[in-house]
């Protein structure tokens, strides 16, 4: 490291592109080997791991679903005992919500947002690496507990008193609550990074009205995380305190209240649905234009709808509690507010339909999944309107009708777009195309399998089948439909299998993609596939909503950044005018150690409260190690 700052610093002007790329590569690449892999802070590497890990959890959660379908395929079946079944459905819900859906959406954000706003790394890359490790350790914690037969068995919602100290002996519920803490920390960290990246690291000229819809969606999602996750953090902490040190937050015998838990949980839990769904809205809005050959219709309308949905989502939590016996006035208010969210959702659908109507669709796999999404999600929305009505809900609440409803919304509304997004951005992430033939197979298998599996559940619910039962009796009229559902689930699983086979095969053997295989207009397609460690040779300058115009092979860029340190551009919040040449941190193993220390503290604290005291010392040491400047050019200014 040269200390003579006054001497000539290498800038990215007046050198050839090849030489510039070489210098940037030297500055931005991670070291090879295990330590290099652990210490890397490249948002693409970290987010790639995040996505892969989340999909592993999807597979695990899916296997649990298959196990449940096996048990329910016939009445009074004895494949799985009730204790294991309760663990399985709790694990399925917790894994899908906390270890798959939220992380995968945040990881997509961590991968795509920096590329789409034209910057070189996410804001706070070390926090990003830390977030991944925490997420990974939290997921391992939960699954090791499952292997040990101490997995939580109180449902992913962990209602007290069932999850409280008296009725949930052992460490099962504590493990659930602590797993929540892990995923919370991870999610909050990414949310902060995304928000700051969007606010401060957009390419010059990318004013608020030129931000891609996906980035808007991720920004709103980040705010939902920031505002909603403290609620679950508070509730999981107080639950552990109730169980471990004898507080009485949820103990009605000592002035606590069982419903308090439900209020806190759903104050988080409802925005949670939109934390998962809004990124999907962004994905659809970004992918659709590439396959209909025209820009999205109603950009402003969509952005307003996104923000409205985000705001409204905080006013709906009580619709998960319509049957607890609340005052009628409150119920009517929440009926109205729950119904009203159909309006922004409708606006989104209308904008997409209009875009499709005016465009000329090219039926590639991503578009198929988006069409499947529209058909499925609108149905989920319709059943959403149904359960938003208090009287209607008193009949279907906690039945298979609701199971059907939220799988329509979550799989139809978020997983379909996510798979479309994987097909769409796979070439960018790996440099190779996914197979179109297998893509069509996977679409039709997933689409048909999904509807055959979940549509009958509506009927089962109306026929009186409650949720979360490990078996039912032969005299009830549910047997044949359940068997049908279980068989259809095999088709659905087959579809996912084809998808994963396709992804794994195409990673090595797919056709080379080139930098912009779809002819898309957003910035991530301006760089090579996969993008180099520094993302862009020079940071692009944006002058419209669609920075890449077809046929144009020149990109307006900004020059004058140093190449000997990781430097990127900080711009103003509204107009995105350049403000400073900020450095981006170097690789570091400290985030890994900090995550290890934090994990030790959190796991230890399941067993004794003193862990918080003693365990926080290594956490503090690793954090100091993380932040203490090492004298690299990135640490100075």
């Amino acid at each position: 490291m040269t200390r003579d700052q006054g001497a000539r610093v290498p800038l990215d002007v007046d050198i050839s592109d090849a030489e510039l790329e070489r210098q940037l590569k030297e500055t931005w690449s991670s070291k090879p080997g295990l330590w290099g892999a652990i210490s890397t802070v490249d948002h693409k590497v970290v987010a790639g791991r995040y996505i892969a890990t989340a999909f592993v959890f999807l597979i695990l959660g899916g296997l649990l679903a298959m196990a449940m379908r096996l048990q329910l395929s016939q009445p009074e079946a004895r494949f799985i005992n009730p204790d294991r079944y309760n663990q399985i459905f709790t694990m399925h819900g917790s894994t899908m919500m906390f270890l798959f859906a939220v992380p995968v959406m945040e990881a997509m954000a961590a991968y795509l947002v920096p590329l789409m706003v034209g910057t070189r790394n996410i804001a706070f890359p070390r926090l990003n690496a830390f977030s991944y490790w925490i997420f990974l350790f939290g997921g391992i914690l939960l699954w090791v507990a499952f292997a040990l037969d101490t997995a939580p068995d109180v449902g992913w919602f962990a209602y007290v008193p069932l999850a409280g100290p008296q009725y949930a002996p052992g460490k099962r519920a504590d493990l659930w609550a602590q797993m929540i803490t892990f995923t919370e920390v991870a999610a909050l960290a990414v949310a902060v990074e995304i928000a700051v990246t969007v606010f401060k690291q957009r390419a010059p000229g990318m004013s608020l009205d030129r931000i891609p819809v996906l980035v808007w969606a991720m920004l709103v999602m980040s705010f939902l995380v920031i505002m909603a996750m403290p609620a679950i953090m508070f509730s999981s902490t107080t639950l552990i305190l109730d169980r471990l040190v004898g507080t009485h937050f949820y103990n009605p015998a000592e002035g606590g209240d069982a419903l308090l838990w439900q209020h806190l949980f759903w104050f988080f839990g409802h925005p949670e649905v939109y934390i998962i769904f809004l990124p999907a809205v962004g994905m659809v809005s970004t992918i659709l234009p590439a396959f209909v050959g025209r820009p999205l219709f109603g950009y402003m309308l969509l952005v307003m709808a996104l923000i409205t949905t985000g705001v409204l989502s905080f006013g709906l939590w009580v619709h998960h509690m319509f049957t607890v016996g609340l005052p009628r006035v409150g119920e009517s208010f929440f009926t109205a507010s729950s119904m009203s969210i159909a309006v922004p959702a409708g606006i989104q659908i209308f904008c997409w339909l209009a875009t499709l109507w005016a465009g000329k669709p090219v039926y590639k796999t991503p578009l198929l999944f988006i069409l499947g999404f529209i058909v499925t999600f609108v149905m989920g929305g319709m059943t959403g309107v149904m359960v938003a009505s208090v009287p209607f809900d008193t009949q279907v609440h906690d039945t298979y009708f609701v199971v059907a409803h939220f799988h329509y919304v979550l799989i139809g509304g978020a997983v379909f777009p996510l798979i479309a997004a994987v097909y769409y951005w796979f070439p960018k992430m790996t440099g190779r195309m996914m197979s179109e033939r297998l893509g069509r197979w996977s679409f039709w298998l997933i689409f048909c399998g999904f509807h055959l599996t979940f549509f009958p559940m509506h009927i089962l619910g109306l026929w009186g089948m409650p949720r979360r039962i490990y078996t039912y009796q032969p005299e009830l009229p549910w047997t044949s439909l359940n068997l049908f559902v279980s068989l259809s689930a095999l088709v659905l699983a087959g579809g996912f299998l084809v998808f994963f086979v396709n992804a794994i095969r195409s990673r090595r053997n797919g056709l080379p993609a080139g930098s912009n295989p779809w002819g898309a207009a957003t910035l991530e397609w301006a760089t090579s596939s996969p993008p180099p460690p520094y993302n862009f040779r020079r940071i692009p300058v944006v002058s419209s909503l669609d920075p890449l115009t077809p046929g144009e092979n020149e990109l307006p860029v900004v020059a004058g950044l140093r190449t000997d340190r990781r430097e990127l551009l900080v711009t103003s919040v509204v107009e995105a005018l350049p403000q400073a040449r900020e450095s981006s941190t170097t690789d570091s193993v400290w985030p890994f150690w900090a995550a290890v220390a934090t994990s030790v503290m959190l796991v230890w604290s399941i067993f004794t409260p003193w862990a918080v005291v003693w365990g926080s010392i290594p956490v503090a040491i690793t954090l100091i190690g993380w932040f203490w400047p090492k004298g690299s050019p990135e640490d100075e200014s």
């Binding site: 080997g33 295990l34 292997a147 100290p165 008296q166 009725y167 169980r243 103990n251 067993f607 004794t608």
Partner: protein
């Protein structure tokens, strides 16, 4: 070119290290899983019950060796929160509190003062419940199954613990008249008690 190949080598190496690490991690995990599994049983199998019934008591019916199968199982009735909680429920269902209160004693002796008439070993407690003791403790041999007796014994032992344990039974929501089970009540309420007949049976906090 050379830089690249070194990088590729490094990648290969790191892949190998990753793979090795992952395999070692999985193996360690499997070992832990085998060792620490905490299954719940609602009804012990008959051979197991029969084996658990084979107590080897000292001639004076105080203390002794638990059957080998108990160790082979990993002492579940003392280390599994679920069994302890079952014991707690059995405690109330079988009316133990009529004589022993909330463990605080009454007509029968207290369990939480650190004093054990027949010593604090599991075998003694099991024998007391199963076969009864002089001066009013009835035999529960014909009212409870063997595994229920062990569960109950485990709970009673935890009531009189000197050291707080990570594995504790479920806490009551209602207030109780004694310290919670996971707080080492015997250490908190240690009572010297009468001079012991056999000093080795007495409490040693």
């Amino acid at each position: 070119m050379r830089v690249q190949s070194a990088g590729a080598m490094g990648n290969k190496m790191s892949a190998r290290i990753w793979f090795g690490g992952a395999a070692a991690g999985l193996a360690a995990l499997a070992a832990v899983v085998g060792w620490m599994r905490e299954p719940r049983q609602y009804r012990a199998s008959p051979p197991l019950t029969a084996a658990l019934d084979q107590l080897r008591l000292m001639p004076n019916a105080i203390s002794g060796t638990p059957p080998e199968v108990y160790f082979a199982l990993g002492k579940p009735y003392e280390t599994t929160a679920f069994d302890l909680s079952q014991g707690k429920r059995l405690y109330s269902w079988f009316g133990c509190s009529a004589c022993h209160g909330e463990g605080t004693g009454g007509k029968g002796p207290s369990f939480i003062d650190g004093w054990w008439l027949y010593g604090p070993s599991m075998v003694s407690i099991v024998a007391s419940i199963r076969d009864g003791r002089p001066h009013g403790m009835p035999a529960f041999r014909n009212r409870m199954t063997t595994d229920e007796i062990w569960q109950l014994a485990g709970y009673i032992k935890s009531l009189g613990a000197y050291t707080a344990s990570v594995t504790a039974t479920a806490r009551n929501d209602e207030k109780t008249g004694r310290p919670a089970e996971n707080r080492a009540p015997a250490a908190l309420l240690f009572n010297q008690g009468p001079e012991p007949l056999h000093p080795d049976q007495g409490p040693t906090p």
